[in-house]
Symmetry: C2
């Protein structure tokens, strides 16, 4: 297909497709002349992925690029690619050091559940940084609440990882990244609906 058809299928303007091509987020098409190129279904798929990462997950272009690099690296085993993709997503711009007490709380959570989470996993820092802010603002969550998240999310993770690993290996990483990133807004929206319901039931009359 030509670029105009690719743009239509991906539901973005042609200018956006050209921009993604220039930025290396889309692989070039097959050249059929000095200024024309031909695209296939793999381009449609990649274009939709880029659009979703930008529009739904709200990633900046440099993050999108890092995610795509992890997805495209076929030399690594799935667990390692997943870890790399996740880690690049979690890498924080904040240069603020993470307080030790928050970091220790994360370690205790990991130990309580016996999770295999790398010592230098970026997710530990992400959680510690968030806890440190909550503690500073006097809104520290209880261990009971953290454990409630941990048990529910681990049960969900078993489903999520199984659904990724079960299918076609070539697209496993792509599905994993999509599942991680694009399910996040869904998860947060469900959480807010649950809060709206509880709030409606318990606070409406105050």
């Amino acid at each position: 297909m030509w670029i105009s058809e690719l743009a239509r299928r991906g539901d973005v303007p042609v200018a956006t497709v050209k921009f993604y091509l220039r930025e290396g987020l889309l692989p070039p098409g097959e050249a059929t002349g000095a200024t024309r190129a031909h695209y296939d279904e793999s381009h449609v798929r990649r274009l939709r992925l880029v659009r979703a990462l930008v529009e739904v997950a709200g990633l900046r272009l440099d993050r999108v690029r890092a995610v795509l690099e992890a997805v495209d690296d076929e030399s690594r085993p799935l667990h390692s690619v997943l870890g790399a993709a996740h880690t690049r997503l979690s890498v924080d711009d904040a240069t603020v050091p993470v307080p030790d007490d928050a970091r220790r709380r994360v370690s205790r959570l990991v130990r309580r559940w016996g999770w295999r989470v790398g010592r230098d996993s970026a997710h530990r820092d992400a959680l510690a940084r968030s806890l440190a802010s909550l503690i500073e603002l006097g809104a520290s969550p209880t261990d009971e609440l953290l454990d409630l998240y941990a048990s529910g999310l681990h049960r969900a993770a078993e489903r999520e990882v199984a659904s990724v690993a079960g299918g076609d290996p070539a697209t496993a990483t792509e599905r994993a990244v999509v599942g991680t990133l694009l399910l996040e807004p869904a998860l947060l929206a469900i959480r807010r609906m649950a809060q709206e319901d509880v709030s409606a039931r318990t606070l409406r009359r105050r």
Copy 2:
């Protein structure tokens, strides 16, 4: 305290405090001369909240302002203020229409659980938009997975809302907003750790 002390307590440069004052994110101090003003503990608290909303929750300044307006509006009952704060957070920049089939899936989820979620709640659109992207990318989550999220997050929401409503009414909204927003990165970090654990157990040898 003077502005230098306020900046130190909030762990930001003086220039940042001045910027927040100029932008109306911090209320002015008590003027003690043509160019000097005096600040109190309420300023420290507000400064830390703004910093957390910007640095940890990653909100843009216009979103921070909208959240603070909801927090500061004392004329409304708690449920309504919470709803307003949440809605302003969920308002999406995307002008893309939400597909009907995704919206119907959200309605079915809400009906299955009997949740009291407003017909025009912004969270419905947020969830529908995320589901529509997943469907388009061939990674639609099963109803079983959505129900797993719903049950776990509703149980957590009962704790979350109770902890907000139980304390000092004057700071209830602030705590609710902080709890919603700053717990989100924590929740997502715990989810990624759970996925890392499941992936380590099941995929490492592939």
